[in-house]
Symmetry: C2
Subunit: 341 residues, 2 copies
DNA sequence: TGTTTTTTCCAAAGCGCTTTGAGTAAATTT
DNA sequence: AAATTTACTCAAAGCGCTTTGGAAAAAACA
């Protein structure tokens, strides 16, 4: 059933029916009601391709997974998109996903922009230097970044969590507990989030007159295995740290394993604290002892990013949103006073 | 730059240019070459919406995440789609993703079918009873299932791994090592894959004259926490199992944690074996001892599923593919002879 | 009553592509 | 040389929607 048939069925012109359906004012309430009624009854659904062709709007959002995508993004993607998806579909937007393939990432964006395949894109996993911002700006394709590009705050829309503040606070918690030698097990620091986390960590150390020691700082793919290796390595050092700060829950199982293996009690012999994105298969509270975390729902971020982008699309005049989310520090049993000896 | 402009530029009709570009035979090689050349030079790209409207083909594949989606799907989704994405983009297909939202899942499929928004869909995470097969068949929307629906093997396209065989083999490995009391820590058995795994486990037990004991079998969300809890619970039983079979690596960190905590040596006091989908952040080999696994790349499955679906779409006459993949059993240090005492 | 404004509706022109049905020039047959 | 085939190319008609520019009918005004 298409518009033509529907309008014939109603004894109205296509124009009127279209207008009635799309809420234009040039049609009487009575007519609108009648049209809506019949449309519903016969199950009329406008053909999206025709609509897109006619309007030039695609009602779709693009998500392009970087081809050099890493563990910084992948395991978190499902959750992020789960949050965003709710919002998209509530607003009648489709999501167009692109991952890998021969076509290089830049080409994909160009294609999106030029063809109007999507009305906007969300940029995930920004790096300290990120060509995507420039490209998308030039292409005039609306976009929002989940995270930030280095310390750049203007000229593009973003939603980020306060990684720096979170790690500052977390590290401060440890120094307040008397720890003086604190390790950082970070993700790849070419990524902005990891860089910011390191800064926060260093902030807190500096505030205590401590200087960050590269020998107890790592920057690596966020895997269980690296969590294990690095923890083991750091805790085997001559001058070993008494506390460790982790950039991801993905490290944690490995870290716990390493600590156990070395006969160290978590929360007393060594304090652990991790950033927790709320991945549903890794619950910080279920650990023993429960893990002290910096908690921030990546899923909620997904929802909000989607909202903001849709707002930008519907209202291009609105000003670029910049949202910095506070991260909650949840103190649990894995952090304790520095062991004396 | 659109077709009209391009054809004017070439002094040819739109028809000829279109045909030249799309490989129709009615155009001379010389013309085709020239058209291709110029099109490339000016960066002509057909408008996808117009193409879709004209042909009725969308060149897009739908992935609908179940609204009651679970941990059976989510953490694996990124990897599956990473595999599929390569194939999609190599073949010029977009992926249309739908997750959650108000609109119920069934409506989404109906919309897809009726509007031609996608040329086909892949069904993920099939259950023992799954309404999606019936619906999609009725809608005549090409689809392929990753997994199977209960024991149904015909009437729809699928690619599955031999879960039953894998778990039979894994369990047999344990019985061969002398284990007689073996626990199963499974995912939600309403899902086909989990059900099949249980069958395989039971097969092997039966083959040894053992009967499956429900007290050492669990069916639960695949999380670290449940891995810990269930392992701890089972290993605390009066008549405790000497070996455990896990349906997912997601359980494993928790399980190891539990074993450590109880002072049990993995591989000697208790044997562990898990199914490994190859999630990149959880490496079975990096564990200590390295974990014995049933390994099957979910990413490779994604690629193959995509290939098969595209083949079905391009060639509707072809017969429904049914592929059952063998799962490799990789024996490592976490399994050993039953402890005597 | 005639004129102007408002309300309600419509015909037709796109949007950018594919595809049908023909037409012309060149090559081949008769 | 005429008739037939073959090889190329084209004009025009969709695909199903939105939207422009009016027109007719109804309401308001003079």
């Amino acid at each position: 059933m298409n518009l033509k048939q529907l309008s014939k069925h109603l004894n109205l012109s296509q124009t009127t029916v279209s207008r009635a359906l799309n809420g234009y004012p040039e049609v009487s309430e009575e007519t609108r009601r009648r049209v809506g009624e019949v449309a519903r009854r016969v199950g009329y659904r406008p053909n999206p391709h025709a609509m897109r062709l006619a309007t030039g709007k695609s009602h779709a959002i693009g998500h392009v997974l970087p081809s050099d995508r890493t563990l910084m993004i992948d395991p978190h993607f499902s959750d992020f998109i789960a949050g965003a998806g709710d919002v998209y579909s509530a607003n009648g937007f489709d999501v167009m996903l692109h991952v890998g393939g021969l076509e290089d990432e830049q080409t994909v964006y160009r294609r999106y922009a030029q063809s109007g395949a999507v009305d906007g894109v969300v940029v995930m996993g920004p790096r300290l230097q990120d060509w995507r911002i420039e490209l998308l700006t030039e292409l005039e394709l609306p976009f929002i970044v989940h995270g930030r590009v280095g310390d750049l705050e203007d000229g593009y829309a973003w939603l980020d969590i306060d990684n720096r503040g979170a790690f500052r606070q977390a590290t401060k918690l440890l120094t307040d507990l008397g720890h003086r030698r604190i390790g950082l097990i970070n993700g790849n620091e070419a990524m902005t989030f990891a860089s910011h986390r390191r800064q926060g960590y260093e902030d807190a150390l500096l505030a205590n007159g401590l200087i960050a020691d590269p020998t107890v700082m790592t920057s690596d793919a966020m895997t269980e295995e690296n969590g294990y290796r690095q923890t083991k390595r750091l805790l085997s050092l001559e001058n070993k740290p008494t506390a460790l700060v982790f950039s991801s829950m993905l490290f944690i199982s490995g870290a716990i394993r390493a600590a156990h293996e070395m006969g160290l009690q978590i929360g007393s012999d060594v304090s652990l604290i991790a950033h927790d994105d709320g991945l549903p298969f890794l619950n910080a509270e279920g650990l023993v002892p429960a893990l002290t975390t910096m908690r921030s729902s990546i899923r909620a971020a997904g929802s909000r990013v989607a909202e903001l982008l849709i707002e930008m699309i519907n209202n291009p005049a609105s000003k670029q949103p910049h949202e910095l989310w506070k991260v909650d520090l949840v103190v649990r049993g894995s952090t304790g006073p520095v062991p004396r000896n």
